[in-house]
Symmetry: D2
């Protein structure tokens, strides 16, 4: 994912944290944890998952559209608008 | 929304259909309609709403990024990828 | 929707407000409104739509499960947990 | 999660598969994988995550509401409607 090199560490940290949260859910399923508590943890995973997706799309737009050397001002503006829209839809 | 002129009619038709569906929900709420039937209609509205959003974002990308005269091939490819991604997340 | 009588007015007010927001989007589509502004308004509609759905499901659970005269304490507790879960997933 | 004992294995298998998918995303982020390919895999994770959530809520309703010995027919019907509604909203 070359272009993401500078942000990669953050993204990888997010994925690992999410994996940790899922391991927590797995442990709850194997032990006798209350169903509601599991669902609350799954809701937290969902939030983390949406945040990861949002950041990935954000950076896709950043690196492939906004930082593209030939991009016109109009392209850059429309791309930044796309980022804001994605943010509001993936909350 | 100038740039959408050719697609505007489709979008306006979608918005009107969705308004019609909401009027149906309103009528159900004022009459004695079964709660479950109302919820099924609200679920259908949600599908229509997501389809409208998807088409709007699609055309924003089409007209502002892909059809931008100065857009490089790389910009066009990344923009088409964005459309496919949005489609899969707003299903 | 019989059982919702006491809350019906609120729900109907929500549906009407949402219809008003969609009429705004329709007007923007027929006039020359900027695409990004339209998308911001569609995002606001989405918020209003999710709030409507959340309230409907909430009241379905309230009236059919929690207020059901024969409901056991266990049923009432599980139903309230369902409401909390729905709230966190339909934000 | 006592009550889920009979379905637990399926749920645990789902969580493990999802963890495996996330490990795939992590590997892609550390190697030089194309951004679009990563986003496609994240979209697949989202589908798997929604399916897991849907099944968990389904079983919460099944075991705490429908199978509750004192549940009236009305409670059972409203609970099954809830399951159907959740399914259509968490697709």
């Amino acid at each position: 994912m070359g272009h993401l090199s500078k942000d990669n560490k953050k993204l990888i940290a997010r994925v690992r944290r999410l994996k940790g949260q899922l391991e927590g859910v797995e442990r709850m399923l194997t032990s006798d944890t209350d169903c509601y508590e599991i669902l609350q943890n799954v809701a937290a995973c969902r939030g983390a998952f949406n945040a990861l997706t949002r950041q990935l799309i954000h950076e896709h737009i950043e690196h492939h559209l906004i930082e593209e050397p030939t991009a016109s001002d109009a392209t850059r503006t429309a791309s930044k608008e796309m980022q804001a829209i994605i943010d509001s839809f993936l909350k």
